[in-house]
């Protein structure tokens, strides 16, 4: 005859097995119900465009003169802590066991440009045989950003969950915003001004002016901090 503890263990195992079976059946039913709720038939591993919206069509007159690709390794460690006081004693302790970290390489393309939409005869002066062209302030726009998905690394301990796609998207957005907030440090505006001069002077020379008679001016007092990087509208 089996001892008492063995009989108890065997009954416990049977109960657990029955519960697992019931759970599996329930999960399968849920999955079938989800699939029956009008999800389109799709091929495995295939991406299919399902909806699109044209948001904005706008006429521009911008001369892009400088392109700059900025790389940033966005890192994030998710270690929530319990902080506070217990009976007046400060307490700070980790709320989860194990680490949960991610590193996302992001490339952001910035372009410096001169907006010619307000350019007119008031921007062109002729004095003593010299041609003076006054250009608007250079601006910077983020034209594209790209995530290196193959280079993205997640370090997840067994007791922690993986980063969701929404979390990764949010962290990437923060990385792009961080780059944009430091745009003034990259010197793109100064490069945009030099490039604009280098582009315009040969063209003006073809009009019949000597190079020494051409003056390209920008607003005085302008510096890198005046740049307002324009985010692509969502």
């Amino acid at each position: 005859m089996k001892p008492m503890y063995l009989r108890f263990a065997s009954r416990l195992l049977h109960t657990v097995a029955v519960c697992l079976g019931l759970l599996t059946l329930w999960a399968c039913q849920q999955k079938t119900a989800d699939a029956a709720q009008g999800q389109p038939e799709q091929t495995d591993g295939q991406a299919a465009p399902t909806a699109h919206i044209v948001m904005e069509v706008s006429r521009q007159s911008r001369l892009y003169t400088t392109e700059c690709v900025i790389h940033k390794l966005v890192t994030f460690a998710d270690n929530p802590t319990l902080e506070g006081k217990v009976l007046g004693v400060p307490v700070k302790m980790k709320a989860r066991w194990g680490d949960r970290k991610v590193a996302i390489p992001v490339d952001l393309t910035l372009k410096g440009y001169i907006d010619f939409s307000t350019f007119g005869s008031q921007n062109v002066l002729r004095e003593d045989g010299k041609l003076i062209v006054i250009l608007p302030d250079p601006q910077v726009v983020a034209t594209a950003s790209k995530v290196d998905h193959q280079g993205t690394r997640q370090y997840i301990d067994p007791l922690r969950s993986r980063f969701t796609d929404a979390e990764l998207a949010e962290l990437t957005r923060q990385g792009a915003d961080s780059i944009l907030s430091h745009t003034a440090q990259f010197g793109i505006a100064e490069l945009a001004r030099k490039s604009a001069t280098a582009l315009l002077v040969p063209m003006l020379c073809r009009m019949g002016y000597d190079e020494q008679d051409i003056i390209v001016r920008f607003r005085t007092g302008f510096d890198e901090t005046d740049i307002q990087p324009h985010l692509q509208k969502n």
């Binding site: 699939a35 799709q42 091929t43 295939q46 991406a47 465009p49 399902t50 699109h52 044209v54 904005e56 069509v57 006429r59 521009q60 007159s61 911008r62 892009y64 003169t65 400088t66 392109e67 690709v69 900025i70 790389h71 940033k72 966005v74 994030f76 998710d78 929530p80 319990l82 506070g84 217990v86 009976l87 992001v106 952001l108 393309t109 010619f116 350019f119 983020a142 034209t143 594209a144 950003s145 995530v147 998905h149 193959q150 993986r162 969701t164 796609d165 929404a166 998207a169 990437t172 792009a176 915003d177 961080s178 780059i179 490069l191 490039s195 280098a198 582009l199 073809r206 692509q232 509208k233």
Partner: protein, 240 residues
């Protein structure tokens, strides 16, 4: 003859002056009332005790509410770490943008396997910029002619950026299961191709060309030219 003193009016009223048995009884009864009251207080001692306890509890609750002994909260950092930014490439370009189209594209990825299905739906946003790449223009693209006239021979309108999706603004709409990195790259390419097919149309190219004529005419008129001849050379069409 000795006459007894007449009582004063006050003695007449209260009668305390007399030591009669009636007054003793009254005094005893008053003493008994006090004793009874004291005994009653002793017998119902729990009433004031309860009152004291209620007041004490109220004071303690009030003090705990204003300054709880355990003040612990979950603190979660949602900001990325501070890391350096590196300039990977910088170059001089000459691109005139005359039309920009901002759009969104929703794409889905799906995979079936033994343990269940994986599904990911993302919404990409991007801006297609149409214009002229002056690096593709010939050396004689501009010619000044007599009588305040000029001639511009420009490359045809094309897409200025092959990378135009702002992936950092991507929104994750639905996720289920395990998503491999290849899926996200596949979704990106799929969204890019869909945007190109939908927006790089002859009508948009035509609109960009018309705007290019208007803008360049205005700019060169400001330079002093009265007659501006603009020609777009289709041979230099830039394929994305």
């Amino acid at each position: 003859m000795h006459t007894p003193p007449s009582p004063t009016p006050s003695e007449e009223l209260t009668g305390t002056r007399t030591d009669s048995p009636k007054s003793d009884t009254k005094r005893n009864s008053e003493r008994l009332d006090w004793r009874r009251l004291l005994l009653g207080l002793v017998r119902y001692w729990w009433l004031p005790a309860i009152a004291v306890i209620v007041v004490a509890v109220a004071v303690v609750v009030k003090s705990v509410e204003s300054n709880p002994p355990v003040q612990v909260a979950m603190v979660r950092n949602t900001r990325i770490d501070i890391t350096p930014e590196e300039i990977r490439a910088i170059r001089q370009i000459g691109q005139w943008e005359f039309l920009s189209v901002s759009t969104e594209e929703m794409v889905e990825w799906h995979r079936k396997h033994f343990m269940g299905d994986d599904h990911l739906t993302r919404i990409y946003s991007g801006t297609l910029r149409l214009g002229i790449d002056m690096q593709q223009a010939s050396d004689d693209w501009f010619a000044s002619l007599p009588d305040s006239a000029c001639r511009l021979r420009l490359p045809a309108i094309s897409l200025l950026d092959t990378l135009f999706i702002d992936e950092a603004r991507t929104r994750s709409f639905y996720e289920k299961g395990s998503i491999p990195p290849e899926a996200r790259e596949q979704l990106y390419q799929q969204a890019r191709q869909a945007m190109l097919c939908r927006l790089l149309t002859p009508s948009n190219l035509q609109a960009a060309e018309e705007n290019a004529r208007d803008q360049l005419t205005r700019i060169f008129a400001a330079m002093g030219f009265k007659k501006i001849d603009i020609t777009f050379i289709p041979d230099s069409l830039h394929k994305p």
